[in-house]
Amino acid sequence: MAISGKEREDFEKKLEAYVGIDIGLEDVGRNPVNEAMVRQWCEAMGDELGAYTDAAAAEQSVHQGLVAPPTMLQAWILGGVAMASGEDDPRDKQKELHRLFDAHGFTGVVATNTEQQYLRYLRPGDEVRAKTSIESISEQKATGLGIGYFINTRTVFRVQDDEEVGSLTFRVLKFEAEERPAATDESAAPMAGKPQRIKPALGHDNEWWWQRVEQGELVIQKCSACGALRHPTRPMCGECQSTDWESVPASGRGTIYSFVVIHYPEVPGYTYPLVVAVVDMEEGTRFVSNVVDIEPEEVEIGMSVQASVELVDDEMKLPVFRRV
């Protein structure tokens, strides 16, 4: 539960004191902008732009000589290996602010937005330094991750002669994280492996049908008393109320009765745009499934289709339809 009442009031008053202040430290690049670090960056990113690593090409370009990739801006002042220790500089007001959030239950942290502005590209020899200030702290917000506050910081980058070369605004959410055990079991971690489709809810009345699909078969439930076909599967015949049933193979041939094309929201595991159709099967029942290998704008009501039972991800088989 997030703090409330007087406690929240006092907390938010403490937060106010941080708005607009410098975090108290200046980050100074330990090396001037140099070709070795640029090359390493370009190799990591697979960036082959001549302006960064090909002196002759850079000379003839608008840059008139080698420049550093603009998105490297922050790399020139980051702490390197020392960051791995996780130790905070006690003078750092930003860390102090984060600890204040932690102490009030807002222990989660996630970066949500960054914006970098470049006044000019950096060149070998430029000596970069940066100062960061806390620009704003939002009101308390309810977010998908939990209740929290957004903190905006702004970092201004300067080089020799106090020339401003760019800036970075950074937005993080400090939120009340739900207790979650460490993901030592890999399969329990969020986003472990590849996303798979949502599985059908199996029960007494439909499990047998999905087992047949798993074996590559497409069947239709048939009343053993009156012979009427029905789908989706259910325990009793709607025509004669008999609970005796059997199944017959479906030809898979049908025509599209209706369809939708789903664009949004996208659920992991599915490919979009996703065509979902209600198909009139030639036996007289209807199936709902995807129409595949077709541009969504080419799908039409009345179009003849053929079902085929296939793996639709790493785990699940489904009858899907193709135009014939």
């Binding site: 990591a44 302006a51 971690a189």
Partner: protein, 141 residues
Amino acid sequence: MTETRNYTDVQLGDNLPELAIDLTVSLIVAGAVASQDYTPVHHDKKSAQEAGMQDVFMNILTTNGLVSRFVTDWAGIDSRVTNVAIKLGTPNLPGDTMNLSGEVTAKDEESGSVTVAITGKNAWGNHVTGTVDLVLPKGAN
């Protein structure tokens, strides 16, 4: 890569050639090291797992670097990036692929600046969405 794109060649609605990035541990660690970002979750699997993730995940600077590369691959050597604004979504984890796509959404005649809206999508959804502003040369080069 010395070719370049002129401001006049670019139309609103133009799509950039898509770029698929294989998300390997090597890329994630190389990007973190190249950006001097040794926060343990970007190179140490155990730390990442203690933070609730299944494996090391890409840092923001690498995302920025890949987005910039994607746009300048298209724009060429005489372009100048002036602004990169991104929103972060699902993390980039090893074993996945990020597909970058982009579309020209604005042009400013006076400055010769164009805005490219970009999306970097992995199997779990959008890793990154945002815009890149860059100035392109005008006229024949």
